[in-house]
Structure formats: C-alpha cells, structure tokens
Amino acid sequence: MLDSKRIEISGPAIPLRGNDIDTDRIIPARYLRTVTFDGLGEHAFEDDRRALKAEGKLHVLDEAKHASGRILLVNKNFGCGSSREHAPQAIMRFGKGIAAIVGESFAEIFYGNCMMLGIPCAVVGASQMAELLAAVEANPELTLSVDLRTRTVKAGKLSVPFEMPEGARTQFLEGNWDTTGELLSGHAEIRATASKLPYFSDFG
C-alpha cells in the first residue's frame, strides 16, 4: 500500500495551546455512544469550542484562518486521560483531516493510538514549540512540513529537530504501521508462548 507511507506531511498548522488536554475534551463522552467512528470529526473539542462561543470568542479550531489546517501543534501531555481511540479518530476527521501532530509531549495511550492510525506524533523541545506556535500564530498560512526522513519540522525559516522512536519512524516510512498483519504472522510463536505459561492451560 503506497499511501500508507508517512514520509513527509506538509500543510498549514493549527496552534492549539495548553498542557494536559485530555481526551474527554478532545471528544466529549456523549459522542462515544456510537458503534462507528464516522462523523466524530465535527464534534472534536466541542465543549471547549462551545464554551468560547458563548463568551463571544472563537476557538482556534473555528478560526477561518486555520480552516485548512493539517498539522496540529500542541503543548505538554496531550491526550491524557481516557484511552478512547475516538480522540485521534475525531482529530483525523476534523476539517480537512489532521495528518500529523507536533507537541512537547504526549500521553502514552494516545500516542500509541495515533500510531495505530498512521498519525505521526513528533516531539519537540519546549522552546522550539514556543517558536513554532508563535510562527504559525503570526502567519496562519505558513506551510509546515513534518519530515520523517530527517526528523525535522520545517516552518518557513525555522527548522526544528523532533524525536520519535526509531521503530515507529521506520514503520511510518515503510508504511507498515498497521500492526495486525505483522502480529498474525507470529501465529506459531503465539501458541508456543501460550503453552509455556502455566495459567493458559494448567490452572483450569
């Protein structure tokens, strides 16, 4: 599958400031009453967006100047809280479709969920994040590029290195981040490991 490769993702960015943004805020629980992921995009950050609207303000996701955003910029511990995959599913379906996230740090389950969906999460230092956010706020049309080959986020004159575990990076570059096939191929080893664990058979 050619289109499963994630080599360089570029496009305008959405600067979403704030630490510890949890998955309840990314997608409020009432939208989890569903048996599909369809249509979640429009409810992304719904309560935060509504709260600001009520005050006569606009959430960054609602600002026309960021309407074509493809890369989400965040701060620390993004995606903490509930393990709901509905959160990255909503993000990837929001607007034009968010294809990559750049942030100072991510909650672990959220990061893993993004991996499973082919959304690279690039980790950059705090001061670099501040520069990226400022650059995009000053110029919303700025095109960012998240280059997995060189591990850099480029934005105009800025070029910022990012961190990503080597294994994850290779999976994105080679397009084999969808794990099911890989795991299935270990069928014999799975059975062998199970047979060595006493509780799989012996504690009946």
Partner: protein, 472 residues
C-alpha cells in the same frame, strides 16, 4: 541482579521482538465493554478474522448502563444500539458475557477481580485506561485503544515497548480518616499527572503491605492519572486469600501450582529499579482536588495554592483551573459548597468503600444536607445484591442517599447520571477533567468515599475527621 515483577511477567509473555523494535506481547486476559469494542469487531470482520482465544476474552456492559432502571430497551436509542452490538458480537464470537439479564453485569474493573479472573503474573488489557486497577493483584495490566482491541481479538497479542519501573514506597502508618484514595491523590500531587509517562509504577512499603486488595485496587486504578500506564503491587498472602474460592480462581491441586507461579513472579529483593521514591504515610492527609486535573489537589484543611507556588510551565493550566472552577487562589477548600455527592466508580465502588462510610453513619442520625443530591452506586450487580442482603441499602436511603443500580454512573457522561450547569460534585471517582461528569461547565472535586459522605452531610467540603469525630 534480580528482576522486578514487571520484567518477569513481560519476559514470560514476550512472543518475539518485532522489526519495529517493539515486542509482541501475549495477553493473558482481555476484558471488553460496549464503548471501545464495536468498531474493533467491525474491523475484525472487515478483514475476515476471528477471535483467537475466545476463552481468554470476557465482556460486560458498564459505561452506558442507566442506574435508575436497567429495563430494556434503554430509553436512549444510541445506548440501546451499543447493547445490541455487544450482544451480537459476544454471541457470534462465543465470548463469555457478564450480562444485565443474568444479574452479573458491573464495571469491568470490578467484575474482573470479583470473579477471580484477575490473577497475579498475568498480562491484562482492556479498551479502558483504568485497566491499571488489575495491577493490584501483581498483574501487568493496561488500557489500550480500539485498534489494539482488534489486534488482541485477532492475535491475543499486541506490540509494546518495555516500560521503566519506578518503585513508590509508602511506609509508616496512615492517620485516622486517611484512605487509599488519599494515598493515590497524594502520590499524583507529588509526582505530577505526567510524572509516570514511560513508567510502570510498583507500589510497595508498609502501607501497601497492610492494604486490603480493594485498597490496592484504588491506588492502582489511579496510576494512569499519574501518567503511568500500569501500576502494580506484588502478590502476597492478602492477594491469595482474596482469590481463594472465587468463581474463576484455580481449585484443588491447581491452586497450589497457581500460588507457586504467582510467588515466582514477585519482584526479587535485589531487583533493579529505574527510580525509587519513598513517602511517609503519616504525612498524608485527607485530600481533595480543587482544579481540573487529578494532580491539582490539596489536603482538605489546606488552601488552593497560589500561582507562584507552581513552576512556570504549569501556570497556564493553573490559571485555566482557577477560571473554570471559579475558585480563588488562597481560598480554603473546606467550606466549598457542593450540589451533588457521588460514591461509586471503579476507583471506589467496592464493598469496603461503602462499608467505610456505613461504619461512620450507622445509628448516628446523620442526614444528607437538603440541597445535596447524593448517589450510592455499587460497582457490580453482585455487590449490590450483597449490600441489599446486609440491609445497607436501607441505611443509606434513610440517611438521604439514593441507592442505585450498578454501573459507571456519574463517573462519566455516557448515561443519564450527569451534572447540570455549573454544579459542584464531591466525587469518589478518578477524573476531574472539564466536563467529565456530563455538564460542559460541571465541577468535580475528587476525594475518598468517607470525605464525599462528610461533604454530603455538611453540604460543603468538610474534614471527615471532624464531621465523624475520628481521632488517631
């Protein structure tokens, strides 16, 4: 050099190293519920796959179940649709289902232990972040996303990186009126809500040695709120005594073999840890959160901290919390008026949580303040029946609490139990995120069940030690 339980269990369940550098890890127990599984079953079927180990997969319903009446069909069509999907999936794939009809349903993290499914030395996963709860038994247990649920259904494995291990010791004695919940909130306050990212937490020390299984579960449940995907306590005599005789516990000669295996998984005395922290139990006071993360808490007699007391990088969140909660820095927490009181959830919805409250209110004429709506929500139907058999429902109702059916209830906004407007809720649950309890402006104060009861009776946040006359 010895090994930790985490390393031993991880190694025993490692199928192989994957080209990505991660490990393919075998799952001993897969728990599923209605919210995070339907899409996984759809993906499985789209790919023409089946469930590899249906006998290691167990299902129940909890998040969407109404607690006022559990009659089907549910009034909420969306919730009913999720029930139907789950019922179809478990029937089709021959998965054991703890159902409403059979009176076996409950919060997934309550029924696993209650039925003896959760055992030491296992790997346990569930599409739910509070799966860390099961670590109380000395299992490596963690939450996963829906695509991983698909993978575990299809292969009983998932790809994982090895975590580091931080040992958190709490020694000495806890004071009167200080509970496992306070220990959890204290640890998160000290280490931060993302202090545990990349770590499994091993909880140890005299306080954990003395804790009952239910107390250990309360703390492991909240490991994830400190950023640690897994938290565990080494199995010991308390663990085995709890497990003995439960529905899915080993019996006869298998019991002895099981205990031998469980013992072998304990962390070695000379195990190497990536980090060790130690606290004195006597330092811990009844805690209450004032903000919008479980780390934003204070001892009940303390004050809401000033912005200056936080590091620069945290101040924005802190300002956001003051604004959302409409609390002033420097304001005392005690005396904060509440509208709702909730005792339940996978953190504190077990027998000992309710009994701790009962022991204090029984026969003493305490009544819930007239303006407070107070809910008692057992974690499972089995527990609910036991409580009714003991007459606990009557004592609670006479004191002005509503005694509900089992479910997640007001812990999150997926069933009819919700906050309204800007209501303030004293809650024994685990998350005080913005909007968590169902109203986008609702406010949650996390605390122990006994502190929730003290708040319900006083009508405002109050030191349970004073309300109930507890002394060391």
């Amino acid at each position: 050099m010895g090994k930790t339980l985490y390393e031993k269990v991880f190694e025993a369940h490692t199928v192989r190293k994957l080209p990505s550098g991660q490990y393919q890890l075998l799952m001993g127990l897969h728990l599923i519920h209605e919210v995070t599984s339907p899409q996984a079953f759809s993906m499985l079927e789209e790919r023409g796959l089946s469930v590899l180990y249906p006998n290691r997969t167990f299902a129940t319903v909890d998040h969407i179940v109404p607690t006022a009446s559990q009659l089907r069909p549910f009034q909420d069509d969306l919730a009913e649709g999720m029930m139907v999907a789950l019922e179809r999936n478990v029937a089709k794939h021959k998965i054991r289902y703890f159902s409403l009809d059979k009176d076996e349903q409950g919060i997934v993290h309550v029924i696993g232990p209650e039925n003896g499914l959760t055992q030491p030395g296992m790997t346990i996963c569930c599409g739910d972040s509070h799966t860390s709860t099961h670590g109380a038994f000395g299992a490596i247990a963690f939450g996963i996303g829906t695509s991983q649920v698909r993978d575990v259904l299809a292969t009983q494995t998932m790809s994982m990186s090895k975590l580091k291990v931080r040992r958190i010791e709490v020694n000495g004695k806890l004071g009167a009126g200080v509970f496992a919940k306070d220990v959890a909130l204290f640890i998160i306050n000290k280490l931060g809500v993302n202090g545990g990212v990349g770590y499994a937490y091993e909880f140890a020390g005299e306080v954990f040695d003395r804790f009952t299984m239910e107390e250990r579960m309360t703390v492991c449940n909240m490991a994830i709120e400190g950023g640690a995907r897994s938290g565990y306590v080494n199995p010991d005599a308390t663990t085995y005594a709890y497990l003995k005789g439960r529905r899915y516990s080993p019996t006869g000669a298998a019991w002895e073999r099981a205990v031998a295996y469980w013992e072998s998984t304990r962390s070695d005395a000379d195990a190497r840890y990536d980090d060790v922290v130690r606290y004195d139990g006597a330092e811990i006071e009844p805690m209450v959160t004032w903000g919008i993360t479980p780390g934003q808490s204070t001892p009940v007699l303390g004050k809401i901290p000033l912005e200056a007391q936080f590091e620069e990088s945290e101040r924005e969140s802190v300002r956001e919390a003051y604004a959302y909660m409409s609390f002033e820095p420097g304001q005392p927490m005690s005396g904060t008026k509440i509208d709702v009181a909730f005792i339940g959830s996978c953190t504190n919805g077990r027998m000992s949580d309710f009994e701790a409250v009962l022991d204090l209110i029984r026969g003493r004429g305490f009544k819930v303040a007239p303006h407070v709506k107070a809910l008692i929500v057992p974690g499972s139907q089995k527990l609910r029946k036991e409580m009714i058999a003991l007459g606990y429902d009557k004592i609670f109702t006479e004191a002005g609490f509503e005694f509900r059916e089992a479910g997640c209830s007001m812990c999150l906004a997926m069933n009819p139990d919700k906050l309204k407007g800007r209501e303030v809720c004293a809650s024994s649950s685990n998350r005080n995120f913005k909007g968590r309890q169902g109203s986008p402006a609702g406010r949650t104060l996390l605390m122990s069940p006994v502190m929730v009861a003290a708040a319900a009776i006083s009508g405002h946040v109050a030191d349970a030690r004073q309300v109930f006359g507890l002394a060391n």
